[in-house]
């Protein structure tokens, strides 16, 4: 979620690349409540930091790539995650990677709030916000997938625990209705239709 917020922030600002400032905004937004981030002794208002809740992204939607500085930040976050013994890179690791940042938005935050590298890391370590748990990025993606009504054949196969070729055979045989996205080759399956291929297992009674 933090990364999608970061990309959105870059698109919204009309930038050509996703820079560390966008990633910081994305991370803060991911752990915010009602636009406010409470971090250690600081309360950060996202609107004051430039988050615009109303304005969308100009059309045609720009395509943005990560900047070289953003790549270095991800690398640093991955090193922090690994040294902390975490399996995945979470929002907290990305935020911790900003501790030594002395440019851009982080520099402004440090100057405005008297934040030091140590106090920032201490505040990140104390976060008890649902959006900042380890591997939260993965968890949020999978929970989004669990509530989606339309699935790809691969996701549907995973849901039923069958091979994707088996799922494609169900589709070809008409056991699962498939829908084509307008103008696209890709298809989607309705979650509720997948239960139709499940037949009740009847236990045969033993003759005594």
């Amino acid at each position: 979620m933090a990364t999608s917020f970061a990309i959105f922030a870059a698109k919204q600002s009309g930038a050509e690349e996703v820079a560390p400032d966008h990633i910081l905004l994305g991370c803060l937004r991911a752990i915010s409540r009602f636009g406010i981030v409470t971090l250690g002794p600081w309360s950060l208002d996202l609107e004051a930091l430039g988050v615009d809740w109303v304005r969308g992204v100009d059309t045609p939607r720009p395509k943005v790539a990560y900047s070289q500085q953003a790549v270095q930040l991800f690398d640093r976050a991955a090193r922090i995650a690994r040294s902390a013994g975490s399996v995945g890179v979470g929002v907290n690791h990305l935020l911790a990677a900003f501790a030594t940042e002395e440019t851009g938005l982080m520099k402004r935050l440090k100057m405005a709030h008297g934040i030091t590298s140590a106090s920032w890391r201490a505040a990140i370590a104390a976060i008890d916000t649902p959006g900042a748990n380890d591997s939260r990025i993965d968890e949020m993606e999978s929970s989004k997938k669990e509530t989606r009504q339309y699935l790809t054949p691969e996701e549907a196969a995973e849901m039923l625990g069958v091979h994707v070729q088996t799922m494609r055979a169900y589709i070809r045989g008409g056991r699962v209705p498939a829908f084509r996205l307008a103008g696209e080759r890709s298809i989607r399956l309705r979650r509720s239709d997948l239960e139709k291929v499940l037949e009740p297992f009847e236990v045969e009674e033993k003759e005594e």
């Binding site: 990364t3 999608s4 395509k63 990560y66 690398d75 991955a78 690994r82 790809t152």
Partner: protein, 90 residues
Amino acid sequence: MSYFVVKRDLPGVTPEALQSAGLRAKSCCAEMTGEGQPVRWVRSFYLPEKAQTHCYFEAASQSAVEEANKRARIPFTEIAEVIEMTPDMV
């Protein structure tokens, strides 16, 4: 949708750099899919003796896979379409 392999030569790459690249790839694929250009990173294999990775993607076109990798800023040497085969299929 087709499958593609993305080959990369990454001498001296660290496990952390691979994890960082994976996170960037995943977020860029999600972003492109949200934009209506579905791309899915399926899985990757690292070949330590050759310092190479072979990363498998599912997408409608090779150009979509190329764009996802460029957006994620992950270098590659070759992208080629592949045909999937698993033990279940033979």
